[in-house]
């Protein structure tokens, strides 16, 4: 017998959410969603959650299981039991509506912000617009996204900044940035390089961990970054940071931590440079600053050769 500790919420009856425990003997082979259904059907018909396909195709049943977002239909329940208990909560970073159902409005608003449709170069041809297998490969992974909201739920940046577009919308953006048939690549990467876009991703890979498909938004975000850098969209801290970093390693084989913050902020970005002063002074007073004369690694010539060979 396992305990299902479920976060309940019904604003029409009680303002604050609370946890309710249900006892259920998990049959062999049951998914977490199977158990949720059985609890609803046998113990409490008011338990509310979204579901449909039960086959990890529709993306409806994403909830937090033991604190982390996942598709309830994709997890074997007996594997999720910890201390005889499975904890079920609504997805994070979205407002709960009732029990395990949340309001996806901000999620869809952000998808809409990235212009999630093809803007082709020419009028529709008589037949289809063709792509080579290599061109399709560029958007294959991100096309698998089922909009379940798991990445959005557990995104570490969204927990503190609503302005961030978030992993799902940025993955969707890569679907079109990487599409050989789209005509607005430059416009797209310019928009995506603004505050709240690609450079606000904190690289925590939480979205990769939560994604039930090969979409893995963090890697898609990095693909957009590469296009933005290649297209010359450099007038922002994130792009300058990447360029300074790469140049430092190209020159010495290692990171020059004294140059990186200044070059990232930009020499004419007075506000940004002033932001560096307090931490710089604190570290200076503790003699914690990196060596003024930045030393190259041994055999740095070989590292430079690799850069040259790759035209970097």
């Amino acid at each position: 017998m396992a305990t299902f500790k479920i976060k309940r919420y019904n604003p029409e009856k009680q303002a604050e959410p609370y946890y309710e425990e249900f006892q259920y003997d998990i049959p062999a082979g049951s998914t977490v969603l199977d158990c949720m259904n059985e609890i609803k059907w046998q113990q409490d018909g008011s338990l509310t959650f979204r579901m449909s396909c039960r086959s990890a195709i529709c993306g409806s049943c994403a909830v937090k299981v033991n604190g982390h977002a996942t598709l309830a239909c994709q997890k074997q329940a007996e594997n999720m039991v910890k201390n005889d208990t499975i904890v079920l909560e609504p997805l994070g970073n979205m407002k709960p509506l009732k029990d395990l159902a949340v309001d996806f409005t901000p999620f869809w608003d952000k998808i809409n912000k990235v212009t999630p449709y093809l803007q082709p170069r020419s009028a529709p041809p008589e037949k289809e617009r063709r792509q080579s297998p290599a061109e399709f490969k560029m958007i294959d992974d991100t096309s698998t996204c089922i909009m379940c909201g798991s990445c959005y739920s557990d995104c570490n940046v969204l927990e503190v900044d609503d302005n961030f577009l978030g992993p799902a919308a940025l993955a969707k953006a890569q679907r079109f940035v990487g599409d050989s048939r789209d005509s607005k690549t430059l416009e797209r990467v310019k928009q995506l390089s603004e505050y709240g876009g690609i450079w606000d991703c904190t690289h925590c890979a939480e979205c990769v961990e939560r994604c039930p498909k090969p979409a893995e938004p963090f890697y898609r975000i990095k693909e957009i970054m590469a296009v933005a850098l290649e297209k010359g969209v450099h007038d922002n801290v994130g792009a300058r940071h990447a360029i300074s970093f790469v140049n430092s390693v190209k020159h010495s084989g290692s990171l020059n931590e004294n140059k990186l913050p200044v070059e990232s902020m930009g020499f004419f970005n007075i506000k940004g440079l002033l932001e560096l002063v307090p931490v710089g002074l604190r570290m200076l007073l503790k003699r914690k600053v990196p060596p003024i004369l930045h030393k190259s690694i041994e055999n740095v010539q070989d590292v430079r050769r690799i850069f040259r060979k790759l035209n970097q």
């Binding site: 940046v157 961990e209 590292v303």
Partner: protein, 293 residues
């Protein structure tokens, strides 16, 4: 035990106390670390923003150097660990790509074999039966009474397919080490979160809200100090701590240690020998706590 030591850039720059304490910890444990002086930066996930091939080639070169030495490779930075593992995974999963990488490396006299040298974080070599036995054998000053909160650093946990921890959502390797050192581990939800360092220059408010939330969680869970295996987390949690609004509002502060410093303290080294006086947030609280026992 003998390893090729990949120091990473930050241990030789802004967190030199990490390098100092790593050497002390290794000395105290009788582990031999051969520093990889010709290894390039791991790219920190930034070089791959421009060119994944370049990042993978540089990391393959690093692994090839360890392979030629016949040694497993140890890292002292979660970010280095994650990026070396990611490159290893990219290369090992695609024979044609591996061939391309080796073609790039060959003119420099390197060959990436793959799988010959394991890539391990310092925490992962200690959190084994052999490592635990070694800690228990060498410990001279049990850290009795010290309540220690782990802060893992994203890349040793995620993606879980590249992690050496059994359950990256609920790891216990660092806490097992603390217990072996005689300290009391503090479990708190934020120990597996991001410190926000990668966006400290792009979105400082969000970055410091992330580090602030994690530190508040650790403090309110009763920790005397936070211990991390990542120098970038250390910069975020220690060097920037005095300006984290969420902590300032409550008047809180908490010392942040590198894992190697905590280990070396238990091995009998003094805080001064571990450059703990170089930290931005004073570590005196830890010494007082240990004195009380």
């Amino acid at each position: 035990m003998k390893f090729a030591l990949f120091t990473g850039c930050v241990a030789k720059g802004a967190t030199r106390e990490l390098m100092v304490s790593t050497k002390r910890a290794a000395e105290g444990l009788g582990i031999e670390f051969i520093e990889m002086k010709s290894a390039a930066c791991c790219g920190a996930g930034v070089i791959s923003e421009q060119s994944p091939l370049l990042a993978d080639a540089l990391n393959a070169r690093t692994v090839a150097i360890a392979e030629a030495q016949g040694l497993d490779l140890v890292t002292i930075c979660s970010t280095c660990q994650g990026n070396l593992k990611k490159s290893e995974c990219n290369i090992d999963s695609d024979p044609e790509y591996k061939e391309q990488i080796n073609h790039i490396l060959s003119e420099g006299g390197h060959q990436y074999l793959g799988g010959k040298s394991k890539i391990k974080h310092f925490a992962n070599i200690l959190a084994t039966d052999e490592g635990m036995a070694l800690l228990k054998e060498k410990i001279k000053r049990p850290l009795k009474g010290l309540k220690v909160a782990a802060f893992y650093g994203c890349y040793v946990l995620r993606p879980s397919g590249l992690s050496d921890f059994d359950d990256p959502d609920d790891p216990h390797g660092m806490e097992d080490i603390f217990a072996a050192l005689g300290a009391t581990p503090v479990y708190y939800p934020s120990r597996v979160k991001c410190c926000g360092f990668p966006i400290i220059m792009m979105n400082k408010t969000a970055s410091q809200d992330m580090s602030g939330n994690a530190l508040l969680d650790a403090i309110e869970s009763g920790a005397d100090c936070v211990v991390t295996g990542c120098p970038l987390c250390h910069l975020s949690l220690d060097s920037y701590q005095p300006e984290i609004e969420k902590l300032k509002k409550k008047g809180y502060s908490i010392p942040i240690l590198h894992l190697s410093q905590l280990v070396a303290l238990a091995l009998g080294y003094t805080p001064k020998e571990l450059d703990m006086d170089k930290h931005i947030v004073s570590t005196l609280k830890i010494e007082e706590r240990l004195a009380r026992g």
